[in-house]
């Protein structure tokens, strides 16, 4: 469903650039690969420059990781659990934030693309990763799988299932059903929260660019930087809190 109105082209579905062995290569997937590549490059460079007596950049990364780890430990109230889930939670934050910030760069979006002869329009080569529901859904599925895994390994499959299905009392039974529904609803809330925020931001900037290309987008871009970081943090924090709920004994 493409909403086309006087130069602004907005589609909910990702732009398909081509297809390789049955896998559609979308602009968002390509951007995602670039983000993963850049993150990998950065990680390797960071790893090779690690020193016991740190420089300024290393201090920033270290204190961020140290702070996040301490917070994770504080929430989970368990050192072993924190050590196990911290890399995933932190990676969620870093990946989503990096993807969002990369999506604000000038060549991501409409400017650089493939000119499709038949349709007479430019298909962008790069597009903000989280404007693609496939990406946010993938992250949501991973997060929910991690949460369920955490619950099952911490409590055992039977006890964990007992949180959702129990026949102790009528109220308990319905509470269990509600818990089960909310568990599944997380998939939707996780994926659509991120998708909605970033997609809306992209649309907002596109519209602003269309109406007032020189000044208006600046504060909006600043705001989107903020939103990009916050959404990464929200996704990671919610995963952390749901893990905590999952590993807590039912009562």
């Amino acid at each position: 469903m493409a909403a086309e109105a006087a130069g602004i082209h907005i589609a909910l579905a990702p732009y398909v650039l081509g297809e390789v062995a049955g896998l559609p290569i979308t602009a968002t997937l390509l951007t995602s690969w670039v983000v993963v590549g850049l993150l990998t490059l950065w990680a390797v460079l960071f790893y090779r420059s690690l020193k016991l007596v740190p420089g300024r950049g290393q201090v920033l990364v270290e204190s961020t990781i140290g702070f996040a780890y301490d917070y994770t430990k504080e929430v989970l109230e368990d050192d072993k659990l924190a050590r196990r889930y911290f890399p995933i939670i932190m990676s969620i934050f870093v990946f989503i934030m990096a993807a969002n910030l990369f999506g604000l760069l000038p060549f991501v979006g409409g400017a650089v693309g493939i000119y499709e002869a038949g349709h007479d329009k430019l298909i962008p080569l790069f597009y903000p990763v989280n404007t693609d529901i496939n990406m946010t859904l993938a992250m949501a599925i991973v997060a929910v799988l991690v949460i369920e895994f955490a619950g099952i390994t911490a409590l055992g499959a039977l006890k964990y299932a007992g949180k959702f299905v129990n026949f102790h009392s009528v109220i308990g039974f319905f509470v269990g059903i509600i818990e089960l529904v909310s568990e599944v609803a997380r998939l939707v809330t996780f994926s659509f929260r991120l998708f909605g925020n970033i997609f809306a931001g992209k649309v907002l900037i596109l519209v602003a660019l269309y109406f007032l290309p020189y000044l208006l987008p600046v504060p909006l871009l600043v705001y989107e930087v903020f939103v990009g970081i916050i959404q990464g943090a929200v996704f990671a924090l919610l995963t952390l809190f749901f893990i905590k709920i999952a590993v807590t004994e039912p009562h």
Binding site: L39, T40, M90, L137, M139
Partner: protein, 148 residues
């Protein structure tokens, strides 16, 4: 539902591809960033703890040494005082002895001098007695010669 999936362009292959991307990020960040940083933080915390305990030990050592030095100094002071006191006593005794010795010798000298003086006086007396006798004899002889 099918329409919804089509509208949003949901494709399980893309979902899997993105999940793989995320898995790569987790592995890469875990291996190159989180793991090493956590190890480094721990290593540094250990180093700091080590340094602090070393500093504490050094401080204790210093305190012990200071205490030792204090006691050594005190002892030295005490010894010095004793030595000085003894030396003073010794000096006093020595002086008394020397003074006494000097007095004795002076007395002896005086006595010798008196004795010698008396001897000389006596000798002088004896000598003058003999002179007087000779003079008297000479005078008697002269008188006798002139009368005869």
């Amino acid at each position: 539902m099918g329409d919804l999936i089509h509208t949003f362009g949901v494709d399980w292959k893309l979902i899997i591809a993105q999940a793989i991307n995320f898995a790569i990020v987790v592995v890469v960040l875990g291996y190159f960033v989180f793991g090493p940083v956590m190890r480094l933080l721990k290593e540094r915390a250990d180093k700091i703890a080590e340094g602090l305990s070393a500093a504490e030990a050094a401080r204790k050592d210093r305190e012990t040494l200071a205490g030792e030095r204090q006691s050594v100094l005190q002892e030295a002071h005490h010894n010095a005082e004793t030595i000085v006191a003894r030396a003073q006593d010794d000096g006093k005794n020595e002086r008394a002895t020397i003074v006494k010795l000097a007095q004795d010798r002076a007395e002896a000298l005086l006595r010798d001098a008196q004795l010698e003086a008396e001897e000389q006086k006596r000798a002088a007396l004896k000598a003058s007695e003999a002179e007087i006798a000779r003079t008297a004899i000479l005078a008697a002889e002269k008188i006798l010669r002139s009368n005869v």
